[in-house]
Symmetry: C2
Subunit: 339 residues, 2 copies
Amino acid sequence: MPELRKDPVIGRWVIIATERSKRPDDFVSLDEKPLKTKLCPFCPGNEDKTPPEIMAYRKPGTLPDQPGWSLRVVSNKFPALRIEGKLNRQGQGMFDKMNGIGAHEVIIETPDHERTLADLEQKQIEDILWAYRDRILDLKKDPRFKYVLIFKNQGRAAGASLIHSHSQLIATPIVPKRVMEELAGASEYYEYKERCVFCDIVAQELRDRIRIIGENEDFVAIAPFASRFPFEMWIIPKIHEAHFEEAHKHEYSQLAAIMKEILGRLKKTLKGPPYNYIVHTAPFKDDYSQEYHWHIEIMPKLTQVAGFEWGTGFYINPMPPEQAVKYLLEEPGSSGQEA
Amino acid sequence: MPELRKDPVIGRWVIIATERSKRPDDFVSLDEKPLKTKLCPFCPGNEDKTPPEIMAYRKPGTLPDQPGWSLRVVSNKFPALRIEGKLNRQGQGMFDKMNGIGAHEVIIETPDHERTLADLEQKQIEDILWAYRDRILDLKKDPRFKYVLIFKNQGRAAGASLIHSHSQLIATPIVPKRVMEELAGASEYYEYKERCVFCDIVAQELRDRIRIIGENEDFVAIAPFASRFPFEMWIIPKIHEAHFEEAHKHEYSQLAAIMKEILGRLKKTLKGPPYNYIVHTAPFKDDYSQEYHWHIEIMPKLTQVAGFEWGTGFYINPMPPEQAVKYLLEEPGSSGQEA
């Protein structure tokens, strides 16, 4: 059973994977670690190489764990947290720990081994978003869980170990520290202004129009004012809503459209860079419906996070977001002339 | 002038390097970026390839910016922050920014191009610590600065762009967010217990003796209970003291000894892994003398930080610290048998 341990100073939780502990020789330098390329467990025909499917979108008449699917959700074969058991919170002297209970699932986004998310049809991206929603609604029923984090690691430098396009979710028994920080920040702003900070960002960005990468009926995609990373992009719904899983049907369709558009621009401008994205949404239970506003943060991995960032929590970004937007919106053939 | 911008939700500051902004093509994939190997600006004889030296330990009779030094401190040639100017805090609609004022210096730890910190004589490591102290005491006099962060990036995967052993310091006009978090955590513990949390950690670790990597008269080196990274190591002074720069003379000598010992063990166990270390010390002005306790955190870079860590702020560590200690303390020839 993995163990959740709490740092007594910072209050940060760490998952210690006590079971699959490794020998020092197993830690190959990150520089040398290749993506696994042999048999792909996410390809059709290899369904038996993953744990059984939790859900799938598949052709009528096809069987679970057989080909015929367009999207599959399975448990992670090497889960960071385990679904079975009780939390069993306990002390160990001054230290705190509990069992590593949680869910860790993989969303296999397409049967196609080669295509990245940006290459998929809009309809397929929409299906991925529906799968996120379906899984959150299902996991919300488990009283042990307080939060579901949905994220994607695209490319080796962003932490992906398999090339086949997929995202992941982790359901956790505590609301993660970063999420709490964001909720606290949004709440503080709300206390002071009696307005949602994300609604205010959307309003100012739509007025300034210097950091907008894309816009449609329901969403705006911006390069945030304080971008941590070159070409960082946030997608924010125009309508105030705290929970991703409570969005309206047409919003998922519009979200798929804007994701395809801006991930396509990112791919074209930077020749398919590694990136992470994270769905930022409110926790299950406490009510943040006034203060919080769900959104997606996309973070390309082009710069190295090193001692300075670790020590300070602030970032050095050599690409001003206003400039990033110009590059992202450049049409091919305009030969890089700047405004 | 670089710009400091504040995220309106999280309160995180970002340094936007507006001057040396890059084109998209300049962002080579991290996977492919080699360490610079041509002419080394940190080697003796190349002193004119760095900005003029701020201080140096050198043979009597030798001139500044000439060979004859054993340690040199220079401004970073590509500083993240600039030393000249005023902060000039201002709003931009709902957003906050200020000029990127600060100091960014490089401590060239040895004239030897090849040796890593672990290979240096204890006396030389002690000199490096004295240089840290001297620079902090000098920068403390500048009323614009509130904090000095001292850190080291060893190896490419840890963010180093030059192989020649060096550390860096950044003086900042604000107390960084991560430092504030640690101070807040330590203060909260102090309020509740009326004891220093780090003193309590030292006491419990010396009693449990399952996470100790090294110990001498003044210091203990531990694998922390909630280690974020495999083989993470903290060096904590046994005597309560908030400021690194106020340590006693014999402490710098003892610190050099324990650093050489445990970095040597790390190098042997993991064949010279990339790592970052950060000197955690109290800010210049506010008084945290009761609550805070300086220390050094060493973080080997063996696992990839990906979407999950970014989204939650908690970490997945496949190496329990108790097991890491066993590996680190194994004598060569004992062939890796476990207890």
